[in-house]
């Protein structure tokens, strides 16, 4: 079924067009065109914006702002975003990465949305014409979000401060069993002074593992130091069951993979 596409030079005009019931924003097409191809009759029209600001990457004073239309492939090859390359490459195959956007990834339902897991661990801010929201708040309300995401911004992690792991059954590429992103800061004596852990596939959207984060504070990165955090990793999660893995399996393997990532 063909869908009428409206293209606007500015986000403001595109936002106005999105007020019509049944319209969806077209980013890279990997979510919304897929939905239309599957026969999702809730999609009756598409809107996009060609505003160049949506495709910009700005880095200044240790912070990065990535336009919502920037693709996973563009992030993976960006010289100054090397820390995020692994998370960007975790998304799809080469063709999907040439199309899938940062903004779209925020709306990808589990088991997809691996890059949004990274953004959650990075404590990113999500910008729309209505203002900025912490990514955790944004993800919680994304089902009712209508304003076009224009960019995400976050502090660039220090070397080795950001860790990412995607677990899949097919090598080198497959749908996630789960994904984990961790941002750690350590004090001079090696103890953990700050920890943010984000999990993919452990709910219908990326979630923080707050109990595990709390259990890491003041501990060292060794098997004894992380034991309590691994025991608490699944607290508050509600893993999905899909053809890739059951909720039970995901809950069982989460501490194993989190442990490997923390000790890597």
């Amino acid at each position: 079924m063909a869908l009428a596409l409206q293209t606007f030079p500015t986000v403001r005009d595109a936002n106005a067009a999105l007020k019509v019931a049944g319209t969806r924003y077209l980013g890279g097409g990997t979510l919304v065109v897929r939905a239309a191809n599957e026969g999702d009759v809730a999609v009756s029209g598409l809107v996009r914006s060609t505003d160049p600001a949506l495709s910009a990457v700005e880095i200044a004073d240790g912070r990065v702002r990535i336009g919502a239309s920037v693709t996973m492939a563009a992030i993976a090859r960006h010289a100054e975003l090397g820390a995020l390359a692994k998370a960007a490459r975790a998304v799809g195959g080469p063709a999907v990465r040439n199309m899938a956007t940062v903004g779209g990834n925020l709306f990808a339902p589990a088991p997809y949305g691996d890059f949004a897991v990274a953004l959650l661990a990075l404590d990113a801010m999500v910008s729309t014409d209505d203002g900025e929201l912490p990514v955790e708040t944004f993800l919680g309300g994304r089902d009712n979000s209508r304003a076009i995401v224009t960019s995400v911004s976050f502090a660039l992690p220090k070397d080795d401060g950001f860790r990412f792991l995607k677990v899949s059954r097919i090598k080198p590429k497959g749908v996630s069993v789960l994904s984990i992103a961790v941002v750690l800061e350590q004090a001079g004596n090696g103890t953990i002074s700050s920890a943010r852990i984000a999990l993919g596939c452990m709910a219908d959207r990326p979630v923080r593992a707050r109990a595990a984060e709390k259990a890491l504070l003041g501990k060292t990165l060794d098997p004894n130091g992380i034991a309590a955090a691994l025991g608490a990793a699944g607290e508050g999660t509600s893993p999905i069951t899909d053809p890739i893995a059951s909720a039970w399996y995901r809950a069982e393997v989460l501490p194993v993979h989190l442990g490997r990532l923390l000790l890597s």
């Binding site: 897929r34 598409l46 195959g93």
Partner: protein, 160 residues
């Protein structure tokens, strides 16, 4: 539904058509222009059979809307042979029995062409990664990987 004009270069030839707004590039190529080399497999971006090259980048034509490709240069597998002589990738796929049912082959060749355009002497890992978005249910992949490596060697020998 209102028709919209689409105009792009397909394998070096100018093409212009009117399509329904929202028509995928895959449907425009196959049903309007008559290039049936990109295949409609899953229509979800999972199988890679519809892969084409748009302005040098591998894209899934089933998830790309034709009207977003205005002014683009599009390459499909049907445009690779020159004057009846197969492209080295096509020749290598034949020689190494990398084609069985053939449905995935055009997408595989597009993914391999982008790889070799950027990385003329790829490692086996490079090839596996480049083909990771394309599914084959016949060959077990090994002959396809060998075909791409064979084509890369043929290219480097002809360039030497």
């Amino acid at each position: 539904m209102a028709k919209v004009p689409v105009q792009f270069t397909l394998n070096g030839s100018e093409k212009a058509e009117f399509v329904d707004s929202g028509t995928t590039l895959l449907n425009a190529l196959r049903d309007k222009i008559g290039d049936t080399s990109p295949k409609g497999g899953c229509q979800q971006g999972t199988c890679g059979a519809c892969s084409v090259i748009v302005d040098g980048e591998l894209r899934l034509s089933c998830l790309t809307l034709a009207e977003t490709c205005n002014g683009a240069a599009i390459t499909t597998t049907s445009g690779l042979a020159e004057g009846g002589v197969l492209h080295p990738l096509q020749r290598a796929f034949l020689d190494t029995f990398a084609t069985q049912c053939g449905f995935c082959t055009p997408g595989m060749i597009m993914a391999a062409k982008v790889l070799l355009d950027h990385t003329p002497n790829p490692s086996r890992e490079d090839v596996v990664e480049a083909l990771s978005g394309n599914i084959c249910r016949c060959t077990g992949y090994e002959p396809i990987i060998q075909a791409v490596l064979t084509a890369a060697r043929a290219n480097s020998q002809s360039a030497a």
